[in-house]
């Protein structure tokens, strides 16, 4: 848990609109993606309509939380001042079992241990009282 004496100073999502809904589920410890009620296709990032069938009807369907590492970069030199003390750090693209990909981090793994295809499982980090970010931890393949 973050040290409450030091305010969290990194960029945060705007808790409004569809992003607010996505992170609202994260706050409850649940990773959910929109699933189209018309054609059943999952999507991320959240959108107003389904790009497959243009339906406006969707539901927030719970993810298994399981995915694999799809790609990443290792930020050695921070280009945003809030991350200056966090390098090296690795923003990671995770491909979820539902087929969508999301940008996150793998917390129990140094950047040089990352491998494409590495199985990972979601967890949540309450970085402020209002906002929890989805992050990942290594898991056994199944």
């Amino acid at each position: 848990m973050a040290n409450q004496a030091v305010p969290y100073n990194k960029p945060l999502p705007a808790m409004e609109g569809l992003a607010g809904e996505f992170y609202g589920w994260c706050k409850q410890g649940e990773l959910r993606f929109q699933r189209c009620k018309g054609c059943g296709v999952f999507r991320h990032v959240p959108r107003e309509t389904c790009a497959e069938c243009n339906s406006f009807d969707s539901e927030w369907a719970r993810s298994t939380g399981c995915g694999i590492v799809y790609s990443w970069t290792v930020v050695e030199r921070a280009l945003h001042p809030a991350f200056t003390d966090s390098t090296p750090m690795a923003p990671v693209v995770v491909e979820m079992e539902e087929g969508v990909r999301l940008l996150s981090e793998v917390v129990d793994c140094s950047p040089d241990e990352l491998e494409i295809g590495m199985p990972v499982q979601v967890e949540f980090a309450a970085v402020t009282d209002e906002i929890s970010l989805p992050r990942f931890r290594r898991r056994e393949a199944r």
Binding site: V45, V75, E76, V93
Partner: protein, 387 residues
């Protein structure tokens, strides 16, 4: 379509610098480049009645007021970041061949070093890129904040799937620097780079090292497009637009969820442009490829069809993209070693090559050249030009 009916008739640039900065505004840099382009064409500002400003870099109204464009009747901005200038060539060709305008100015110029830096604006100004709110909500909280980091995700995946190597990226950096050695106007003129020096340069966003990243510089560049008919009476040999197209990946505003992770705007645009031009890749004498980062050159060579996907790494090896090689790329030094003029200098260099004005870096008997643009999360544009 507009094949060969529109021409580039004027090109202009300012000098390029970093410290202490240009000392003038973004607007003045654009005006200086525009005046140089008008002079190159033998035109006055009064004859310009179309302007296509670069995204977020000033208005057509302001440019027209300064240049004396008394009959401005076409103005438009293509919101494709660094792909905008070449996409604007397409739009300008459509405009002049349809009669919407007679003479279109495509200006650009900025204090890219001494003013606000892209690494900052992509983080602080959500409106600076089309995917800005998505980046804010889904990328930046995890430390993905700036262009080299976005594109490194593509490069990493390409390395995994196709065996592209750090040495392949280095070959691009070295080629651009070797070309800058032949271009006195290039910021990196007289500063050679070996592959060993490249490999020893500090990592910024793996796999991108310092020398994989384009320069940030102050300066301006501009081009002028008119009809082939009008072009005959002007000062310089007209350069014909044989084909031009622009395209966007899907989705364009989000970089991680493309069904085909390697598809970019150029993948869609390049076949259109080659079809319109009626030429094949073997007919092309040089290519000026938007080189924001080294891997984007490899990726665009593949997606433009100069080689198959996955073969771009070996395509750039052994000097093949240097002068004298199978396809000289960025003979001016590009964004990596000349200056970052938003992609407009790639058009300027293509015109100079086709006019035979490229001095020590002239591609012998250059008849047909390609120029591309790349912007935002992989928007793309391409033009095929002939003398």
């Amino acid at each position: 379509m507009f094949r060969d009916k529109a021409c580039i008739v004027g090109v202009g640039e300012t000098g390029f610098c970093r410290k202490p900065g240009s000392g003038v505004s973004d607007l003045v840099l654009q005006l200086q480049a525009a005046v140089n382009a008008l002079d190159d064409a033998g035109l006055s500002g009064r004859e310009v009645n179309g302007i296509m400003p670069f995204p977020n870099l000033g208005s057509a109204e302001e440019l027209a007021a300064n240049l004396g464009c008394e009959n401005l009747r076409f103005s438009s901005t293509i919101h494709m970041g660094g792909a905008a200038p070449v996409a604007s060539l397409q739009a300008a060709a459509i405009a002049v061949t349809s009669g919407a305008a007679d003479c279109v100015l495509i200006p650009g110029g900025w204090n890219g070093y001494s003013g606000a830096r892209v690494r900052e604006t992509t983080s602080t100004d959500v409106s600076s890129i089309p995917g800005g709110a998505i980046a804010r909500d889904y990328y930046m909280p995890h430390g993905l904040t700036a262009p080299p980091q976005w594109y490194a995700l593509m490069a990493r995946r390409h390395m995994h799937e196709y065996g592209t190597t750090h040495e392949h990226l280095g070959a691009v950096a070295v080629a651009m620097r070797n070309h800058a050695a032949l271009n006195p106007a290039a910021f990196m003129h007289g500063k050679p780079l070996s592959l060993d020096e490249y490999l020893a340069s500090p990592m910024i966003a793996d796999p991108y090292r310092l020398n994989d990243c384009c320069l940030e510089t102050d300066g301006g560049a501009a081009v002028i497009v008119t009809t082939a008919e009008r072009a005959r009476d002007l000062r310089k040999r007209p350069i014909h637009i044989m084909g031009a197209a622009a395209g966007q990946p899907h989705p364009a505003d989000e970089i991680t969820n493309r069904r085909d992770f390697h598809q970019v705007g150029l993948s869609i645009a390049a076949p259109e442009a080659f079809h319109m031009a009626g030429v094949c890749h073997d007919d092309v004498d040089f290519a000026q490829i938007y080189d924001c980062f080294t891997f984007e050159v490899i990726q665009q060579l593949e997606e433009a069809g100069f080689c198959k996907r996955g073969e771009g790494g070996s395509f750039v090896e052994n000097g093949a993209i240097e002068l004298g090689g199978r396809l000289p790329v960025n003979t001016h030094g590009g964004l990596l070693s000349q200056a970052h003029m938003l992609g407009i200098s790639h058009i300027v260099e293509a015109v100079r090559q086709l006019r035979g004005e490229a001095d020590a870096r002239q591609v012998e008997n250059a008849e047909i050249g390609v120029v591309t643009g790349w912007g935002d999360f992989g928007d793309g544009s391409i033009a095929i030009l002939r003398r």
